[in-house]
Every structure is written in C-alpha cells, then in structure tokens.
Symmetry: C2
Subunit: 333 residues, 2 copies
C-alpha cells in the first residue's frame, strides 16, 4: 500500500482513546501533554501560554491489526503501558478543524473515538498523566449539590447568547435549549446530557475551543474566566462523548466493575458510581437494588478500613451477564 498515489478525496484515519479510571473517588482520564504529540495534532494549535492536553492517539494500520479494537489496545499499550479491560467505539469525528488540517498538508482527517476502562493499579502510565475529568467539565460535578458555576456563570452567559439570536422562534428555541440542557425550569438536570451541554456551550461561543476555531462570541473574550480546562482539537468533545456514554451505560450494563478492584464494600461501589455520574445516590436504596439485583455476592470477608463499623466485602457476580436482559446499577438520583 505504501507508495501508492492517494486518490482524489482520500482521507486518513486516526484512533483516539478516552481512557477512564478511578482514583480516590475521582474519575480520571489519561492525557498526554501536547509536546508529545507529533505532526498534525500540534500544528493545529494556536499559540497559547499555558500547557494544553490531548488524548492518546494512534494510527489504524489494518495490516498490523486485524480489528480496530485490537489496534486501540495495541497503541494504548505501546504509548502508556496500560492494559485496558474494556474497549468500546464511541463515534467517528470528521468535522470542524480536521479538514483544515488536511489542507495544511496532513492527510489525517477522521478520528475514531474509543472509550476504554482500566483499573487504577500500580501499573504506571508512562507517557501520560491522569487528570480528573471534572477539570475539563467542572459543571458536570453535582456531588456537592447543584452546580454553583451553572447558576452564576453558565446560564447568564448562555442567556446573553440567546438574546443575540434573531428575535422570535430562534430566540425561544435557544432559551428552551438552555433550560433542557442545564435543567433550569423544573425539568431537572439529566446527567447523561454531557455532550448536549458541551455542544451548546461550544455553539454559543463560550468555550476556549470555540474561540480557537474562530467562532463569534456573545461577549468580549478576555473579560471572562474560562469554563473548564480546554483540550486540543476536538478532544474535549470526545471526552464529553465518553462521559455521556459511560453515564448512560452504567445503568444497564455492569461496566462499573471494570473500574473496581476485585473486592469492595458497597459504599466504595456507590462512591464509584457517584464519581462517574456526578451526583449523589440514596444509600439505602442503592444497597438494596445492588444486592437484590444479584449484581454482587459477599465474599465472606470484612473490611475494617471503613472508619466505622466494618463492612462486608463483595465481588461482582459475573453470572448476571447470562441471566438478565439488563444488568446495571439502575439507581435514580
């Protein structure tokens, strides 16, 4: 294949992985500093004074890897030394900015985003740094009550953007969209809408990425503090997609156990779910549903490292996968 002429309209394919883990009840994402990214990815960046981060990136080489999933596991291992226990395709991103990269002389245009899960053990992530995903998405953490940031900064800015829309239907729709995305008017905050919120913020021009991509803003940029830490290219969008997917999936598939140690207490399990979903759960009902749902079994051992009464240790009951149509942590918030 090498050395052949590229056909007109041909594009290249890259792989990006959002690798998620848990550490001290915080959801972590593996990032690589920009300097370690080669070619295209760095060249697109606008000059900036602070460090920017991106997701691990690899090429899909169909000769070397039989499937794309194997390709993902391969480049993740090569670049970070990590063995991920769960891999799932998220979405293929081909818009905005990427075509510009192609014109700049690089062929890589579409990027297939993957979600990967791994346990935080002693395996070192050489060539990468774990970062709390709420640093990029501070408005997604509702574990300490309704987000202050949404009320005091985000909604006012978005309303300003909505006011700038054409009066009438467009404006009404913009207002409704703000309400639905951020649960303003009694509709309640839906923790799964991470991507919708990101896209609204981007379209409204209130994110760094929007400025970088040359979008018009509803206000003077330098007046205002940043909303969350930005990432290169559309990587923050990929992380938003990963968050939406895992927050939804946790409810009907037992993916949370790919982030847990072999044995754990029910509180640890609850806090892990809370870290991912960004909201607090009702303790008693959580325990009841998890136990009665047959998701876990007691190992017979106890943990006395709890700070209170010793807790029973549990492990995941793999058999549920064979028994139930849906098996997840089906707990409302």
């Amino acid at each position: 294949m090498a050395g052949k002429k590229t056909e007109k309209g041909a594009v290249g394919v890259g792989l990006n992985a959002a690798i998620v883990s848990l550490e001290d009840n915080q959801p972590m994402i593996l990032t690589v500093p920009v300097s370690s990214l080669s070619g295209i990815q760095a060249s697109i960046l606008h000059p900036t004074t602070e460090a920017l981060y991106g997701l691990p990136f690899g090429r899909f080489d169909p000769v070397q890897h039989r499937t794309m999933e194997i390709g993902v596991r391969g480049f993740v291992r090569e670049q970070t030394g990590l063995d991920v226990s769960y891999v799932e395709q998220l979405y293929t991103f081909g818009d905005r900015g990427r075509a510009a990269a192609a014109e700049a002389g690089e062929m890589h245009v579409v990027s297939i985003g993957y979600l990967a899960l791994t346990r935080m053990t002693d395996q070192h992530s050489m060539g990468g740094a774990w970062r709390n995903w709420y640093r990029a998405f501070p408005w997604e953490d509702w574990r300490h009550g309704p987000s202050e940031l949404i009320e005091s900064v985000i909604v006012p800015r978005l309303r300003r953007w909505a006011d700038g829309q054409e009066a009438g239907l467009a404006q009404r729709r913009a207002y409704d969209r703000i309400d639905i995305c951020f649960g303003v008017g009694g509709s309640g905050f839906d923790e799964e809408k991470v991507l919708d919120r990101y896209e609204l913020l981007y379209e409204a021009g209130v994110l760094y990425e929007a400025k970088r991509d040359g979008r018009k803003a509803a206000f003077l940029w330098d007046e205002l503090p940043r909303l969350g830490e930005p990432m290169i290219l559309d990587h923050r969008r990929i992380v938003a997609t990963a968050m939406s997917r895992i927050r939804a999936k946790i409810k009907y598939r037992p993916v949370i156990f790919d982030l847990m140690p072999q044995s754990f207490t029910l509180l640890q399990l609850q806090q892990s779910v809370e870290a991912i979903s960004g909201s607090l759960l009702h303790k008693q009902n959580f325990r009841r549903l998890v136990e009665s749902g047959g998701l876990v079994v007691a190992t017979g051992e106890m943990s006395s490292q709890t700070g209170g009464r010793p807790a029973k240790l549990y492990r995941f009951r793999k058999e549920v996968l064979l028994e139930r149509r849906t098996a997840g942590v089906r707990v409302r918030i």
Copy 2:
C-alpha cells in the same frame, strides 16, 4: 490533496447509508444491485448465481462537504434522488474482509455506517430498490407470533455449533448465549438485540456471509437453506446495526414521526411502530401512552378510510422536544 503520496499505513474512508422507510406497514431499506457498485465492492464478491444487494455507498470528501453528515445527505441525493429527513451515525466498520480489500490494491478500508430515515412519498428512488428488511432478517419479525424459523431451524443449528465447542465452560457459554440472544429459556425475546443475534449467527458460521468469508461451519453448507437474503461485504451487519439502533431509539426519541405522513390515525402510528419493532403492541395502552405523553395532537379532521368507525387524525407535536427529557413511544410489548 490529490496527487500526494499515501503515507505508510494510511487507509481510506467510505460512507454507507442504511436508508429506512415504511411502505404498507413494512420497513423498507434502500438497496442497490451489485452491478451498480464500482471497483472494490464488486471485486470482493465471490461468484454467485443469484443477485446480491448492497447499501448505497459514497466517499467522504472533506473539501466538498463540511461535515460527514452533509456528505451522507449529498451522496444519497446524488445516487438516489432522495432527501432524507433524519441522519445519524451508527458505527465505523473496519474489520473482516476490508483489510483484504486493501491488499487487493484498493485503499478503501473503513466504512462509516449511517442510519437515515425518509418518508415514502412519490419521490422516486432512481438507482435503487426498496426491499423489506425482513427479507434479510426473517427471524426478526414476530408480528405473527413467535418466529417459527427460530424454533425449527436457527436454534437447532446453533446448538449443533455449540456442541462443537470445547466441552466445559466454552460450551456452556455458547448455550447461554443462544438462550439470551433468542430468548429461549423464559428470558423473553429482546427485539433490540438484532446485532447480537446477527453476530452470533455469523460466528456460528450459519450465514452466507460467514461461508463467503471462509469461516468454518458446524455442518455441510449445501445441505441447508439460507437464513435470510445475504448482502455484499458487511452490509447486512450494517443493517443489523441500523435495526438495533432504531428499535432502541424509538422508545425515547420521537424518530418514528420521520417515517410518518403529516397526519395519521393512531392505528397507523401503532402499526408503524410494530413494523419497526417487529412485534405487536397492546392497543389500548398504546393509544393512552401516546396521547397522554403529549406526543401527538388531534388535527380536528377525521379519516373515514379505516374500514370501521372513522378515526381522528393526529399530527406530531414538535413541542415535546422542548418539554420532556425523553419523548418516545414508550410501550412495552
């Protein structure tokens, strides 16, 4: 970009669309006969005496189309003359057979699958033919009771395959998988598992595509009738993905209305949902849920073409999109 050297490991990107519509309460998919597919797609086919069909295919050209979705709408219009009302990315397929195509001298390796919905109006689909999707997936139609085919043909063949697995855990797992996928042991048939069923059938080597790809079968191929009409490459897998997605989505997003005419009776709406989901719904509860859910409003007109008492005509109430977190036809089977 044209004329540049291809880098080592570079791959090409194609777009495939599963275009869905409804005609006489049958779910239809737009197919193109193999002869109208150029180059690679036809070259992979093994010789066969009967006609094979594929999905419409296009290249993604980032210079011409700002986003991939626009690219999909564009090539669908060019090739078929259809304007689709809804487009959604399904999955990016990069495995099995596609790498072989690359070695055969063609660059196209990954294919981004899209689901598109359109109303069946008088717009002609030049260069394509509508085919009932149950011709490719006869076991997915449960509208006339539990599928005969599953009981009499599929499960026995799959059991034969399972018997050929290594005795012990692998065999037990194979049996469990058959039960879950096809709802054998009391677990009930889950109409959303279209893709799981397809993949099980493929892995077990009982589909034409498996034979074509050179997989070992659990029996002599030519003894047995085919299971559904095959398609080229992995297009039947793409259709399975589309069916899974739309069957799931219909329950929490009002996508069914992209397949309905402007106004319709509640029975027409119910029959449309039944066509997609492949199963019958409870009439009274369907009506109640749809009406009380605010999904539709009466237009004030009546239809007397019903064969019985004239029915009220309804239309979709677009405002639900702004009001509710989930708005779909949430009806159990």
